[in-house]
Each structure stands twice: as structure tokens, then as C-alpha cells.
Amino acid sequence: MGKTLNEKILSEKSGTDARAGDIVIAQVDLVFVQDTTGPLTIRQFKEVKHGSLANPQRTAIFLDHAIPSPNRQLSNDHQFLRRFAEETNCLIFEGGTGICHQLVAEMFANPGDIIVGADSHTVTAGGLGAFATGMGSSDIAIVFALGKTWFRVPETFKISISGRFQKWVGAKDLVLHLIGALGADGATYKALEFDGQTVSNMTISERLAVANMAVEAGAKVGIFPSDSVTKKYLAAQGRANKYKALQPDADADYERAITIDASELEPMVAMPHTVDNVVPVSMLAGTKVDQVFIGTCTNGRLEDLATAAVILRNKKRHPSVRLIIAPASQQVLTAAIKAGYIETLVAAGAILLPPGCAACLGLHQGVLGDNEACLSTANRNFKGRMGNTEASIYLASPATATASALTGEITDPRKVL
């Protein structure tokens, strides 16, 4: 019997013949924390082991959730993280460099790697063929100390995608549709493995957006094969030597097979307060929004800002909508400046935030007021997520978000263009 992508990676990294259901101990290629999970992780690490990390240069701290710091307590947490980096010689990425998952994609993630982070959206790196998953602080502290961890090898759902997306319909609509079909716990403990002609044509940016949301169906990983698109991306990021082809075996064992025809998809929206509460945009047309947020580890990449800029060229946001844009990284921001997207977006009335998580988690930079509605390109719309349990969050693609910023209500991008 052949192997799925995750069985192949876990076999190689554990030195065993890993099969779904097995428990293995595997070597980790990159371990990281961000600024809201890092302090607890480091305190726990110090309880186990005073002194050296297993692999300082493969241990990273990203300051992205609370940057620039909104208050004294978080500033002190940042100091604590910087001191730890100095003491241990681990890697640290300052505020403004970007969101951890985007930086992992730009600088670290390679096909066949195992990546664990103290952030649930660590799954994003599955877009590059890595086995990448989020864990809590205790687990990450132990990886800091030992350079390895235990995994239950997940059963796999094969998601086969065919057909061409309609114009202004894309990866985000696909993954929202999938989560709506699976349910928020429909893939708990499972691996989602993506396959098919449509996948071969998807950019890395699109693959990262899909993998990013695997966790919203409960999955442990969302993983793409490594192919010529992966090769080109790695070369552009200066890591051509890290490319290797990675495909599942033809006779691999899948727990479930799901097929999606991309040509049949409409722009999709997740309604409050669960990510699996998904409907076609047409069902929500006319719903008023107070804030539109374009950014995050799901949709803050260059292609996303390009979509927003194309739609907003020579136009203005609706006067009653606050349009907030946060590029996912400095690399994205710099490229968007060069391409003229930022000038277009600012001229359209957008508030530009520094590369980081921004309004996504309700900490700062766009906390919602009572009874307000936000249309966001993020990955979560849980009650209270954006800092207020009396507010509503809708999730959609950058195209739908931008079209809605123009009209002040949830709008099908195909209708305004």
C-alpha cells in the first residue's frame, strides 16, 4: 500500500514506516512562537531546561500579533522575547517584518519539512508541501528543548479539484465552500490533501490561503503536492536548492475522497459566528457593513492587494465604510508599493496598517463597536473574535471584501465589475 503526503513526510522524519493511526516521534525542521504565545512557551521551556535550545537557528520568534505594541504589558512581553533571543541566539523577527506564517513561507518552509508553531494557523506552510501544524506552548517548549515531538499520523481526506474558477472567484471561495461542506469539526485530527488539475494551476499564494484554513475544519494539516509551481516560488525566494518534488503514491489509502468543480463555485461568505456557516454571496446581498478588513495570514499577500487595487482604481470606498488594509509582510508591502497598489488603495480611502495580524484577533487596530458588522478576509469569525461579542464578522475573499467596501454592503464582485 502506498502513502499519502503526510505518511511520506512523517516516515522520513521519524525513521519509521508511518501509517495512519501510528504514533511517531519526528524531528522538527522549524519551531516558532509569536508574541502572544511566546512568553508562556519560554517560561515553560525554562522549567524543563535552563540554557541551550536544541537548534537555535531553527527556532524563531515572530513579533506580529501586537505590533506596534498597544500597551505597556505587551511591550514588556516583547522585551522578554527579545532578551530570550539574545540569550539563546535563536532567530527573532521584529514588528513590521510580517505575520509569522507569511514569513515562514517566504523564508523557511520547504517541501517535506516538519514545521510546528505556537499558532493554530501554522498549517499555512502546507501550501509549500510541508507538514505544518499548530500546537500549544507546552508542546512547543519541548520542541525548543528536544528538537522533536510526537504525532499521531493522521488519516487523510483527498480533496480533488477540477475546473476553472469563474472570474472574481478563487481560492478563498473554494476553501470557504469546503469548510461549509465539511463542518467546523468535520476533519478533526485528519489531514486534508489537495489534488487535481486546478491545484496544479494554483499559485503558491492561493495554496497558502487554502492550507491556512484547514484548521477551521479541525484538520491537523492541509497539504499540497510540491510541483513546478513550488519550484518556481522557492527559486524566487532564493531557495531553489530546497526544492524537491513531492506527490502522494497512486495507491495511497484515503479515508474520504471529496471532489469539487471549481467552475461551479460562486463567491462565498461565512456568516457569524462560525466559519462553517457558509453561503453564496447572493444570499447576503445588501447586508450593511461598517468595516472591511483586507489582510491576515489568509489573504494579505501581493495577489490579494492587487485584486483590491484593480477593483478600487480611480474609485472611493463607500463613505460609511472603514477600509483597513494590512499587508502580510514587508516583502508584500514593498512589492505593493512598487506596483502602485498602495497608492491606489490609499487614494481610495483605505487605512494602511503595518505588516502584522492587525485587527484579526480583537487586540487593536480595528476593534469593532456594538452591533457593527465587519467583512474580513481573515479566517475566523467567532463571537468576540474582533474584540466585541456584540459585533458580527463575515468572512470572504479579497474581491468580495473590496466590492463591498465600494458599496457599503455585502456585494458580489461580479456585479460591480
Binding site: 493554530s120 479541525g218 484577533l361 473574535r385
Partner: protein, 169 residues
């Protein structure tokens, strides 16, 4: 023979899909290095009276997909700090499950529809039996994988690795 491990307390009932944002929201990130302050907000957005009413030994009893969302281990930690002795749920999100066990907080899968808010419960961890003393019924709970049981028996992952120095599968 070691005596059976028995937990006793009242049930605090919650529904399906209790996210980490309801357990301890991101807006309190500034309190994450001040755990006693953070713990005052445990479950606040799901039940504002929970933190005041919960007593040492009590249980959180909930529906499907408990703890979905963020990897923040603070969610399991503040529940433990509130004195909760175990979480009984129909199903649990993957990251939260590991976090709870890593904090030495038993998270048990059972048919929680049979338990009502305020019921007095007794959980025998050794024999996998939950007794609802108020209703006079018994339930069983799903088996915990050995590696997690070993971690739980040491009181959490940090104590486990401190003792053994490595994973012992």
C-alpha cells in the same frame, strides 16, 4: 494497588463550538504574563458568572468541538486555574485536547446530553466511569491514547519531560 483517581464536583454546562475566543479572548492578550489576572476572565464571553461560581473540583460539561480555534494554551491553563478538575465533552478540537492533557487537565469524551447544569458528578479516571449522582446514572468515556495518559499521569508534559528527559512511547 494504587487507589482509584476520583474527581468530584458540580457540572457547568455549555453548548457546541465553545471556541478559545469564548474561553479566553484575544483582547486579553496583555494579561498573558499575569496569569492570576487573566484567569479572572475564564469563560467570560460564554458565561459571565462562571468565574465567580466555579469551585475547586467542578466540571465543564459541553457539546461538540470544544476549544476550537487558537493554539493559545492559556485557554486550558485558565480553566485549570479556576479549579476545574476535568472537561467532559462530546468532542474536542485537536490542539486544545493536547494542551489540556499537557496541563494535566483530563478531557474526556462522553455523551454529555445526559448531564444537566448543576448535577453532582463523580469521575473515576482509573475505571473510566462517570457517575451523575444527581440522576443516579453512569456513563463511560472514550479511551485516551497511551502517550497522553502517561503525560496526564505525570501532571502534564513539562513534568513528564522533566522526569523522563524524552518521550517514552
Amino acid at each position: 494497588m494504587m487507589p482509584d483517581t476520583i474527581l468530584k464536583g458540580r457540572a457547568f454546562k455549555f453548548g457546541d463550538g465553545i471556541s478559545t475566543d469564548l474561553i479566553i479572548p484575544g483582547k486579553y492578550s496583555h494579561l498573558r504574563s499575569n496569569l492570576p489576572e487573566l484567569a479572572k476572565h475564564v469563560m467570560e464571553d460564554a458565561d459571565p458568572t462562571f468565574a465567580e461560581e466555579v469551585k475547586s473540583g467542578d466540571f465543564i460539561v459541553a457539546g461538540r468541538n470544544f476549544g476550537l480555534g487558537s493554539s493559545r494554551e492559556h485557554a486550558a491553563l485558565v480553566i485549570k486555574m479556576a479549579g476545574v478538575s476535568a472537561i467532559l465533552v462530546k468532542s474536542v478540537a485537536r490542539i486544545f485536547f493536547r494542551n489540556a492533557i499537557n496541563q494535566g487537565l483530563p478531557t474526556l469524551i462522553c455523551d454529555t446530553d445526559k448531564i444537566d447544569a448543576g448535577d453532582e458528578l463523580e469521575v473515576n479516571l482509573t475505571r473510566s466511569i462517570i457517575t451523575d449522582l444527581t440522576k443516579g446514572i453512569q456513563l463511560t468515556f472514550g479511551k485516551i491514547p497511551k502517550v497522553m495518559l502517561d503525560i496526564l499521569n505525570e501532571g502534564g508534559l513539562i513534568s513528564y519531560i522533566s522526569r523522563y528527559g524524552d518521550f517514552t512511547l
